[in-house]
């Protein structure tokens, strides 16, 4: 299913004025930042390309840029009347008239449905309106059915140019969806589109995690009346039981080199953290003692594991070396801190903590400093996980009725639901970038 990602042909386009050295317009690692106003003129339908298709492409692009949290999107409906109907890529000579649009950056493009109507060509240009400089331009050729991925790439490219790092538009989020008594695993694109069921077995399927290659999902299922760990392909085929000790087999986390798996096993009557090799063999117990140990997650350098333990009497976040030694407690505030997740950049841990009778997403430095509550009062928020670039956190929240998957920037800005208002969704897991 990932094959189509490599079928997109990319051509770098030149413009009448050579592009300038890349500079960072937005330091997204700063604690606060102002969103860049970006203007999106109407896209042009070249030749016989249906205007409805071009409109859809435009809509997905505008939505992607909004979801990124980095932009204030000025779409064509917000433009003054003399700009509103202008379509396609303006010439550099006429670029000055766009300066009055209120945007600092302009992203313009056109769509061409080629030949038999099965192939699509998308062209876009990115222009700095303040300095009147051309930043980049590219052309993508692929099958029409891949149009979303082509648009995701344009959004990613835009973010790369303006922030110095590629976006995560070609990523996916796996999560649990409640269907009556059963729980099934589903996968959606970063923008909530393309929701597809992965399991359809009516069982209780929980706690999805991506394998490092992004080709499979690991999850816990009660198919055999025990919470066993399974692997499944993204097309829902090839179900394989991976760990089936009596009791819990939950929450695997692959080491960055893919050689080891940390997970929760309940075979001794309580949950402990164990290590397995990539084949699921050579079991090694990492935690001992009386605590309930849960949700192990590797540090990006592969040297440490963060987890939750109630060994002190209440669940708190701990860090240990990957051999189980050097255990240190990270959280001291509150009496319920669980489900940690290590940021891909390595500097912060996100977790779910209880404050004022509600559950919130927090982040904290790996040295225990800089504790930050990210979710607003008046809602319950659980199970945080990072995007592969560390700029976003996905989590579940009950703020809009039933539990839904939300995404926010890592500083807590721009919180928005990923999934439809149906509810009953939990336990998000973010994939790597597919490219």
């Amino acid at each position: 299913m990932v094959k189509y990602f490599i079928c997109i042909l990319i051509v770098l386009l030149s413009f009448s004025i050579p592009s300038v050295e890349a500079r960072v317009y937005l330091d997204i690692n700063a604690p606060t930042f102002v969103q860049i106003p970006i203007v999106l003129p109407k896209w042009k339908s070249v030749e016989k390309t249906p205007p409805a298709l071009t409109a859809k492409i435009y809509e997905v692009l505008a939505n992607n840029l909004t979801l990124s949290g980095f932009f204030k999107v000025i779409d064509h409906t917000l433009l003054p009347s003399y700009l509103k109907e202008k379509e396609g890529i303006p010439s550099m000579l006429s670029i000055q008239e766009w300066a009055s649009s209120g945007g600092e950056i302009l992203l313009a493009g056109e769509a061409t449905l080629e030949g038999d109507g099965l192939n699509l060509r998308l062209k876009f240009h990115l222009v700095d309106l303040v300095e009147q400089k051309h930043l980049t331009g590219k052309q993508y050729d692929s099958k029409l059915q891949n149009f979303r991925n082509m648009v995701h790439r344009i959004a990613d490219e835009t973010i790369l140019h303006l922030t110095g790092e590629k976006g995560v538009h070609n990523t996916k989020i796996a999560y649990v969806i409640r269907q009556g008594e059963s729980r099934e695993i589903s996968v959606a694109d970063f923008d909530g589109a393309n929701v597809r069921p992965i399991t359809q077995n009516q069982s209780i399927n929980l706690s999805p995690v991506w394998t490092p290659d992004g080709q499979k999902i690991a999850f816990t299922s009660y198919l055999k009346r025990n919470p066993d760990l399974y692997l499944i392909d993204l097309n829902g085929r090839n179900l394989q039981r991976f760990s089936s000790h009596p009791g819990l087999n939950v929450s695997p986390s692959w080491s960055p080199d893919g050689k080891q798996i940390a997970l929760m096993l309940g075979k001794e009557g309580k949950s402990d953290i164990y290590l397995l090799d990539a084949k699921g063999e050579n079991l090694k117990r990492l935690t001992t003692g009386h605590g309930n140990e849960s949700t192990p997650r590797w540090s990006p350098d592969g040297r440490q594991i963060v987890f939750s333990s109630d060994r002190s009497g209440s669940p708190q976040i701990y860090i240990m070396s990957s051999d189980g030694s050097n255990v240190r407690r990270l959280t001291f505030e509150g009496n319920y801190n669980v489900s940690p997740s290590w940021s891909p950049k390595g500097d912060r841990i996100a977790f779910c903590g209880r404050a004022g009778g509600q559950f919130h997403i927090f982040t904290i430095g790996t040295d225990g400093s800089g504790l930050k509550k990210l979710t607003p009062n008046g809602s319950n928020n659980e199970s945080p996980c990072w995007s592969p670039d560390g700029r976003y956190i996905a989590f579940s929240s009950t703020r809009a009725g039933g539990s839904r998957i939300f995404i926010m920037n890592a500083n807590g800005f721009n919180q928005r639901p990923l999934t439809t208002p149906k509810g009953g969704e939990s336990s998000p897991a973010w994939s790597k970038r597919f490219e």
């Binding site: 077995n201 069982s203 929980l206 198919l223 849960s294 779910c352």
Partner: protein, 209 residues
């Protein structure tokens, strides 16, 4: 006068002595046959009575056995009647639920057995002792608050502390298996304190009867 009395007394004493020495011999010889018969009769009576008593006792005992057996049968029938087969889509196999095996409940984020619930476990263990072939599975459940994974671990703990308590009451550990469903199988799907209290439970199902 004094001396005369003395002599009379001596003679009297001697006579008494003679009588006492002679009498037993004479009695034995004289009464032997009739005494034996009498003794035999008494013995026979006694034996008969004993036999009767034994028979009566046996009867009572038999009646008691029958009664106990009936009671046992009745209890068994009652237990059998209480069993409800339960199949869950997507989960292999079949288990039984019985209203006679009562669930116990827990405080938020706790897995220790509360004193009132210990009494319920005593009743449950008495039932399990009556039916030594019965095997059970203890399901540990949580309310919806907190993350799903943490609640799986908590449910595991609740099921196992319940198992430990039953084992301490003399139920063989190999008759008890455990499973945690975390927050995934609420008894009451509402989102309030009342529902949460019902959902934090150890629930018993029968895996072999």
């Amino acid at each position: 006068m004094k001396r005369k009395s003395y002599i009379v007394s001596v003679i009297f004493v001697l006579c008494i002595g003679l009588i006492l020495m002679g009498c037993p011999k004479k009695t034995v010889v004289k009464d032997e046959p009739s005494a034996r018969a009498e003794a035999a009769k008494i013995e026979a009576d006694r034996a008969a009575k004993e036999k009767e008593r034994e028979a009566r006792e046996k009867e009572v005992k038999e009646k008691e056995t029958v009664r106990l057996k009936e009671k046992e049968e009745q209890a068994k029938r009652e237990f059998e009647r209480s069993l409800v087969a339960k199949r869950t889509p997507g989960i292999e196999g079949e288990v039984f639920e019985s209203g006679l095996l009562k669930p116990i409940f827990f405080e938020f984020d706790k897995y220790d057995i509360r004193p009132g619930d210990a009494e319920i476990l005593k009743e449950n263990s008495a039932l399990l002792k009556k039916f030594p072939n019965v095997k059970i599975q203890i399901e540990g459940h949580c309310d919806e608050r907190g993350t799903n994974e943490y609640n799986l671990a908590l449910g595991e703990r609740r099921a196992n502390s319940t198992k430990k308590y039953l084992a301490s009451l003399g139920i063989a550990a190999d008759r008890i298996s455990t499973i945690s469903y975390g927050e995934e199988k609420p008894m009451d799907p509402a989102h309030n304190e009342e529902a949460w209290a019902k959902n934090r439970r150890a629930h018993f199902v029968i895996t072999a009867k």
